[in-house]
Symmetry: C2
Subunit: 148 residues, 2 copies
């Protein structure tokens, strides 16, 4: 039956917005949007990375990333430089303050879980199924790791 409550996609869509809404007040404190926070998280793992690499990881294209990265650059959190050996690619490097921001970001996920009143087990369960479906349907680029 074609009914909203039966649509898994709507539940995911609504829940991901809901979680992001819980992130918002915390991210406001460090002047980041949720997608900007994700981009930095990728860079905190490994640095430098090209726009392409960030895009594959976040599943976003240059139409989304280029302006987002320019905003992060305006905030002096990253630097965008053309690779000299191949002028097509733009490499993203963290500035000192971009690196440092990780310390403030570290406490955010726990606070979000608390404000949403959900447990790690519930989130992990959800994450594992979601990652499985992402691998099956898309050009799966999420590796399977442990927990938060």
């Amino acid at each position: 039956m074609l009914q909203l409550d039966n649509q898994a996609c709507f539940a995911l869509y609504a829940l991901s917005r809901e979680i992001i809404n819980h992130y918002r007040p915390l991210l406001d404190g460090i002047d980041l949007t949720y997608p900007q926070y994700l981009a930095l998280m990728v860079l905190w793992e490994c640095q430098p990375q090209t726009v392409n690499q960030l895009g594959e990881r976040l599943r976003l294209d240059s139409g989304t990333l280029t302006p987002l990265l320019k905003r992060l650059e305006q905030k002096k959190l990253i630097v965008r430089t053309r690779r000299s050996s191949d002028e097509r690619v733009v490499e993203i490097t963290l500035t000192p303050s971009g690196k440092e921001l990780k310390n403030k970001a570290l406490e955010i996920p726990a606070k979000v879980m608390q404000s949403m009143n959900v447990t790690m087990e519930e989130l992990s369960e959800l994450r594992i199924i979601a990652q499985k479906l992402l691998e099956k349907s898309g050009r799966g680029c999420l590796s399977e790791t442990t927990t938060d």
Copy 2:
């Protein structure tokens, strides 16, 4: 550890976008975006509904819904009328072609599942956990029903 692959929210965010990307070519065929399709789905269940009621159901505010509904009205799928007994509220009614569109929409979810190569069981599992978390964290407004 603050790592992308450990973030349940990223998995949900990426998966919901991925599913919507699988909806897109099918919805293009009936000239709808995914949020427009959701709004119509709510109206196909129960009609007429106010902007407020649609917003509670979809968890969207007037800043999102007003322009979306105007676009649906331009496409002659709905009609927006001020309630005479209370000129503040706008009631949304389906036009004949808006009602009829449901017939074409009925086959879409099955096609999406097929193109994503996922089973009903996987989606149901995901949906049930997501609905549970939505109820816990938000002002839960999803009822628990059966399957698709």
